[in-house]
Amino acid sequence: MKIAMVMDPKDNVATLLSDVEKGETVQVRLGEESREEKVGEPIQFGHKFALKRIAKGENVVKYGEIIGRATQDVDTGYHVHVHNVESLRGRGDKR
């Protein structure tokens, strides 16, 4: 089974170590623990998917830290990336 890594127990996203197809079940690893999760759409190697529903305006958490904010609702198993996440730092347009 293909693998996705979770970096910290607080994370709401997992990083895929292979390309995956829509509906594929992957093994989600956090340290020694693992569980299975279904991916909702085709996602590339190295990209992230939501481990639970992330509502618009909610923080996206990886490495146990905030890496950005959801700009739209993201369902469990769906791709989390620049199309639905915005950075909160170093932005001249957000003063």
């Binding site: 992230k48 990886k62 490495y63 905030i66 915005e86 730092r89 001249g92 347009d93």
Partner: protein, 395 residues
């Protein structure tokens, strides 16, 4: 553990024996390059911040740091003769280094062509003089290792940076100093960096560098981009995510110092441990700053397969993405993609990186050393812009 290096008069140890040919003004850069083409042990450099002195103090400090880098065995300074940014600004301090030094004034010597002819002869003599030096064993407390990343992707935090972090902790345990910079890649990683500050005063200095960097990027005027296409294609969604992966290359050791890099001074490590240098993430300027802080060697990590060789610092490239590694295998010194494939552990690859650092320090050529010109560029934040943005480089 020991490595084989060249003893310098100031007590520092070089891992290469290079002659620096420094065109103090860009109009004589061609002279420096022509001399360098004809004499093997030389490296030619210049800067592009005008021939004036006031406002260029940081360039002076960086170039002093470069000339004093222990990989430099001797230097030739070339000027036109009409500049305010004179070779003599450097010569007083550098004459105390005990390294052979020559100053060439182009007008005095009869023009560009004549200066090339004389310069080649001078450089050849200097090369002969330093060629008698022999490597001797030294403990790792004579080693300053720089770490930097470029072309990060989602594998960076999992493989290349994680294994370099393991090597960094081993180096520090054995008495070496390690320096990282790239303040932009501290944005979002503050919690981790503050937690690792060895002292409250160090935490404050780290904070100052990060606040300055964010002020710089928030300056109004134009929309700036700081994530490249490769980062985004590789799965990184924000600078925060990129930073958190990038910080893995610094291992888990405490941060024992923050190095100022300013118009006032260019600091370097004074004791073993991990140091954060104020500076930039831009490859050529970052590797130049790191060399100015005394780094003899650079470890560069990548996910997408980006690479370069440092001019002063031999560069070990570590690639953590197995697909990228296959594409650019001939450029890469270490394959950390095996971690992603589940074939090797972070510790196994980290130990390989540690051994490679010792071997390259002792004279082994890196994959690209001698095959491609090394990168070099001087960073000089504009002091007027800094003032407008409320940035003080004084830590």
């Amino acid at each position: 553990m020991e490595f084989l290096g060249y003893q310098r008069h100031d007590g520092r140890v070089g891992i290469r024996n290079l002659i620096l040919i420094f065109a103090v003004v860009e109009c004589v850069e061609g002279i420096a390059r022509r001399i360098s083409e004809q004499v093997k042990s030389t490296v030619a450099v210049t800067h592009h911040y005008s021939c004036l002195h006031l406002g260029n103090e940081q360039v002076v400090n960086t170039m002093l740091g470069i000339a004093e880098n222990p990989n430099i065995a001797g230097f030739i300074l070339i000027g036109m003769g009409c500049e305010a940014f004179r070779a003599e600004i450097f010569s007083e301090r550098l004459s105390k280094s005990g390294k052979p030094m020559e100053i060439l004034g182009c007008r005095e010597m009869g023009g560009l062509v004549r200066t090339i002819e004389s310069g080649v002869e001078i450089a050849r003599n200097m090369e002969g003089e330093i060629s008698t030096q022999r490597r001797k064993p030294f403990a790792l407390d004579h080693l300053v290792v720089a770490v930097k990343c470029g072309g990060s992707d989602a594998t960076s935090g999992l493989a290349a940076n994680a294994s370099v972090g393991f090597a960094v902790d081993q180096l520090i345990k054995q008495g070496a100093s390690v320096v990282f910079t790239e303040p932009i890649e501290a944005i979002g990683g503050e919690t981790e960096l503050y937690r690792r500050a060895a002292h409250e005063s160090i935490r404050k200095r780290i904070e100052k560098v990060i606040v300055n960097e964010e002020k710089y990027w928030k300056m109004p005027g134009a929309r700036m981009e700081f994530m490249c296409k490769g980062n985004i294609d590789g799965g990184l969604s924000s600078i925060e995510e990129k930073s958190l992966g990038a910080l893995h290359k610094t291992g888990k050791s405490p941060i024992v110092g923050v190095l100022e890099n300013s118009a006032r001074k260019c600091e370097r490590p004074t004791a073993p441990g991990l140091y954060f240098q104020d500076g930039t993430h831009l490859d050529a300027q970052a590797v130049t700053n790191l060399a100015a802080a005394g780094a003899q060697i650079l470890v560069f990590t990548t996910g997408v397969g980006a690479s370069f060789e440092g001019l002063i610092t031999p560069t070990i490239r570590v690639c953590g993405n197995p697909t990228s590694f296959k594409k650019v295998k001939s450029d890469m010194d270490i394959n950390a993609g095996t971690i992603i494939e589940g074939k090797e552990s972070i510790e196994e690859v980290g130990s390989k990186i540690f051994r490679e650092i010792i071997e390259v320090a002792s004279g082994k050529k890196t994959k690209l050393e001698g095959l491609i010109p090394g990168v070099f560029d001087v960073l000089r934040p504009d002091p007027r812009l800094d003032m407008l943005a409320g940035i003080s480089r004084r830590l």
